[in-house]
């Protein structure tokens, strides 16, 4: 919970990691390159006082995560998004098993999401069922750019992916977090293309598709599908930290997102340990558009809109109980398109 100027905010950090990219766990030059790349994002966009050494960044402790999220970070509940990357890291990057230990110890602080890889075909379906039985998660994190042997990635609308999504539906796993990365096959198409999310969201109207980092670097493609599909949400990981290093850009992104997607389908995330929730939450609550003409026609961001983004939208997706004092103060007028009325422009 965060309180400022008499306003209270329930905070759900919908995308965090408890990774191990220590030298001992790193399998090859690709794993080394991956964590270095992550570190550059961290170092480039974090305020100095929140920038770690590379050594610490590779593997941090349970004490770090508890301190940074809950002791000082204002977070009420955090969702661990399991990411395997077993071609890069011997024991995986942050697997369900590793994450689940935290949930076991602090069940009131964390949720853990599962994952599936359609390239495991029938075995994958069994694994998903078994994992779900054991951990009871309400969501899965899918990393479509994950390497696996010769394969450089997959699409959400691949045959076996569709079968896994059917299994999710059957098991009551409603929240599908989609993370697009830059190395997907086939390489001669735009790898960040979210067209497969569009098609799959139409196929599964009862599932929620949370596109992580709001489709960046293809904000325009993501917003486009968001106007077409009512069950597509935007996770704000990677977009949030611009609020410090590139505040004008943050203002533009959030303005565009509120216009195209609307206040009910955007969810806060720090992507910890990429960035820390403390400064993200504080700066977001303080956030105002810069005062110049460029921002004149963006809708105002009221405390209630901030409340929705910081926690209430994710609380709905995950059916979390929110204390009365942290609910919306007023029922505001929604921003964003009514998706039953699609905009008439052609792309």
């Amino acid at each position: 919970m965060y309180e400022k100027d008499g306003e209270k905010y329930f905070v759900v950090d919908e995308h965090i990691h408890f990774w191990d990219a220590s030298p001992e766990n790193t399998t090859n030059k690709y794993g080394e390159g991956f964590i270095k790349c992550f570190y550059d994002y961290h170092a480039n966009l974090s305020p100095d006082e929140y920038t770690w050494s590379f050594e610490k960044y590779r593997k941090y402790s349970e004490e770090d995560i508890m301190h940074d999220l809950f002791e000082v970070g204002h977070v009420d509940l955090a969702i661990l998004q399991s990411t395997y990357l077993t071609d890069f890291y011997d024991n995986g990057f942050n697997t369900l098993e590793r994450n689940a230990k935290l949930v076991e110890k602090y069940p009131e602080k964390f949720l853990v999401n599962g994952s599936f890889d359609p390239r495991n075909e029938a075995k994958g379906l069994e694994m998903l069922e078994r994992d779900h039985e054991r951990y009871g998660f309400k969501g899965v994190k899918l990393y479509t750019a994950e390497w696996k042997g010769e394969s450089r990635g997959w699409h959400l609308d691949d045959e076996w992916s569709v079968r896994h999504l059917e299994k999710c539906e059957e098991l009551g796993i409603k929240n599908i977090h989609v993370h697009k990365g830059p190395t997907i096959w086939p390489l001669n198409r735009d790898s960040f293309d979210v067209a497969d999310v569009d098609r799959t969201a139409t196929m599964f109207p009862d599932l929620n598709f949370v596109v992580e980092h709001v489709g960046l670097p293809r904000l325009e493609d993501f917003c486009w599908i968001g106007t077409q599909e009512p069950n597509v949400y935007g996770g704000l990981a990677v977009a949030m930290p611009f609020i410090h290093a590139k505040p004008r850009y943050f203002a533009q992104i959030i303005g565009e997102l509120l216009y195209w997607i609307g206040e009910d389908r955007l969810c806060f995330a720090s992507d910890y340990a990429l960035w820390q929730p403390k400064w993200l939450v504080e700066k977001f609550v303080d956030f105002q558009y810069p005062e110049d003409a460029e921002f004149d026609d963006y809708a105002e961001i009221t405390p209630d809109i901030k409340r929705k983004i910081l926690g209430l939208n994710a609380a709905k997706l995950y059916e979390l109980e929110v204390p009365d004092e942290l609910q919306l103060v007023t029922t505001g007028q929604d921003t964003g398109f009514d998706v039953t009325e699609k905009p008439a422009i052609e792309r």
């Binding site: 190395t183 790898s191 670097p217 590139k246």
Partner: protein
Amino acid sequence: MIERRTVLDALSGVRDPELDEPITDLEFVSRLEIEGGFVDVRLRLPTYFCAPNFSYLMVADAKEAVLSVPGVESVRLILEDHYASEEINTGVNDKRGFDHAFEGEAEGPDLEELRTTFRRKSFVSRQEQLCRALLADGHSPADLAEMVLGDAPVSAEFDTYLDRRAELGLDVSPEAPLVVDPDGNRVPKGAVVEHLRFARLTRVSIEGNAGLCRGLLATRYGTSGVVS
């Protein structure tokens, strides 16, 4: 004697297709050596995992650009510090093409379709920049819908817009309508505001990515080894 300046000018004609800026401005050129008719160029990118298709396009385009300089007989173009450096460098320097360099990983036509997708985005973004400047000068959206290219005052935004228009093979004559979609169809008066609204989103996306990539490159390399 080949001048460095001439080679750099040629390289400044190569754009990052996603970021819509010259690779020289983006500080992607980290080394340039000239020995007689032989030119040795090194490129670097903001991350180890930058999309290999765009990386390949830049390396291949850079090689073409240097080869077009009078007096240049041969070029070695090396992409540094990328997970697919080896495949890309071999593909470009042996002229085997992208499909061959990533055998088994690529499908369908070579990279031209991808290039066209991003030329269209770039066109939309540059049109928005020009229109934003015209609106700030007092034109209304309805004016814009009726204007032809010959009505627009000459400016840097206008020149870039014409350039991106020509790249898509669209009409650039003074009588051609100013606001057209990427297929060259005039945008009707009633649709201009909405059209520009989506164009702005595209521009915000491209400019934001460019800003992020500059930052990541600076974090990765500091300011060392910049050739400009």
